[in-house]
Amino acid sequence: MAKTRLDRSEQINGWAFVMPALVLLGLFMIYPIIWSLWMSFQVGRGANFSFGGLANIQRLANDALLIKALTNTTIFFFIQVPIMIVLALLLAVALNDPTLKFRGLFRTALFLPCVTSLIAYSSLFKSMFSTDGIINQALLTLHVIGTPIPWLTDPFWSRVVIITAITWRWTGYNMIFYLAALQNVDKSIYEAARIDGIPAWARFTRITIPMLKPVILFTTILSTIGTLQLFDEVNNITQGGPGNATLTLSMYIYNLTFRMMPSFGYSATVSWVIVVIVAVLSFIQFMIARDRRRAT
């Protein structure tokens, strides 16, 4: 009897603590998700819409802008994420050495970009990479280039700028996760490996990387979601241009909803494209991580 009363009070307390969050998440997350699913089967403009069956899904296949946005997002993803993860790993390993001087200083400096707002740093990069901006000035002075590079008006270079900008902003963020994980690794493993004469590079690939695999997986999934949601930077630096070379999926959804003729149903459908891609990529990344673990 006494036990059930305790059980019940545990139950009541448990629900009491999680309920405020659950109510809010239900209202502002789960309800909109269900609504958005329903919406994605609606066709029409503005407030007039009706059930359209699979019409929106058919429209997806013939949507050149969507293909463009998908291509751009894919390019950003496959180039930027690996560069950033590798850089962050190398920086974290370098900073993890307890005999390194100025560790705190390096760590703070490298994390600093994460403190800036996406919009503030985008404005900064837009100014730096303008045709007559400081980047071109520096390159001209150093005789790396003969004529200024049209960073923001050329499709190729504008993508380079976006990739550079995201890498600048997020590398330190990923580095902190790796650094935190590295500090949890038992030092004696490295000692043993060193005594056994295993060289530094092999220690990195055979001890550090496997140890960090869960964190690497976590950051890769976060970066995947981040890349697929890319909006602030492109909207501010290039407005998706030139010629839609940097149009991203999130920007396209925003344009469909608020800039072009409002088409809520179709933009909901496009947003589910992102959901599906995130789900598939996360699943693949998860499987790869699990397979490797089984193999070792």
Binding site: Q11, G14, A16, F17, V18, P20, A21, L22, L24, L25, F28, M29, Y31, P32, W35, M39, L91, A94, D97, L100, F106, A109, L110, V115, S117, L118, I119, A120, Y121, S123, L124, F125, S127, M128, D132, I134, W168, I176, F177, A180, Q183, N184, A200, I221, I225, Q229, F231, N236, S250, I253, T257, F258, F264, S267, A268, V270, S271, I274, V275, V278
Partner: protein
């Protein structure tokens, strides 16, 4: 021996280059805010004397105290509410485990990968129907229950010693008292790290405020910056001064809470 020395040298060069690249834009931004637009374009890297002029120009375009006040109000209220509600949930999920709550938590983790774009349109319609358009409530409400922060608090709570709770129970404390007087003081560094993350996110938020805030007097600093850069002939001195002002609060908070932040991150990854 010389190989080790060489390797050491390479590490220092690598870190120094990375540090330079990380910090240079900040330097350029700070110096730029004191210079005239043509000088900035020319690549001047020294401190100029145009700070006050830039400031006056910025003030004529933007009601700076108001915009700053809006950003602060939104960020502070968001941070306080998110901390309370998410740490409650994190504590609840970890300390009172039950099968059904465990299932709900797993469902929430799945939802973590749903991008904001998928919620944007229904949220906008909801806010419009509730006639909350152009209000700070509309900006703050959807964000205060953050799955990421709930998850973060739950992870951190694993390190909270259960003996402390049991001892407090023996002393006759009620559960909310344990939370308030035992849990919260013990988890200070977790709260500090969460404060940084939430405040920065709220202060820096762009897309959602862009959608719900329409009138100029309700705009936040991030929205204002993006209109400044979108100008046909941008005044770089003014833009850089605005970015300095927009970045300063988060920089200060970061430096003040830095030590707790690293500790808190360590706790979450363990």
């Amino acid at each position: 021996m010389s190989l080790a020395l060489l390797r050491r040298g390479v590490v220092y060069v690598f870190l120094s280059v990375a540090t330079f690249l990380s910090v240079f834009p900040f330097y350029w931004m700070a110096v730029g805010s004191t210079n005239q637009s043509p000088d900035i374009v020319r690549g001047k890297l020294g401190i100029g004397s145009n700070l006050l002029v830039n400031f006056q120009h910025l003030m004529t375009q933007v009601d700076l105290p108001r915009v700053f006040g809006n950003s602060f109000l939104i960020a502070v209220v968001s941070t306080v509410l998110t901390l309370v509600i998410s740490s409650f949930a994190g504590y609840g999920f970890e300390m009172f485990r039950s099968r059904i709550r465990e299932r709900i938590f797993q469902l929430l983790l799945l939802l973590l990968s749903i991008p904001f774009a998928a919620l944007m349109v229904p949220l906008f319609v909801m806010i419009s129907r509730a006639q909350l358009n152009n209000t700070f409530t509309a900006v703050i409400l959807p964000g205060i229950a953050s799955i990421f922060i709930v998850f973060y608090f739950r992870q951190a709570t694993k390190a909270f010693p259960r003996e402390l709770r049991d001892a407090a129970r023996v002393d006759g404390l009620k559960e909310w008292q344990i939370f308030l007087f035992v849990y919260m003081p013990t988890m200070r560094s977790t709260y500090a790290a969460a404060t940084i993350i939430i405040f920065m996110n709220a202060w820096n938020n762009y897309l959602w405020p862009l959608i719900v805030l329409q009138t100029p007097e309700n705009k936040t600093i991030t929205l204002v910056i993006s209109t400044l850069t979108a100008a046909y002939t941008p005044d770089y001195g003014v833009i850089l001064l605005a970015t300095v002002l927009a970045t300063a609060p988060t920089l200060v908070i970061f430096f003040v809470l830095q030590r707790q932040f690293v500790q808190g991150m360590l706790g979450a990854v363990k």
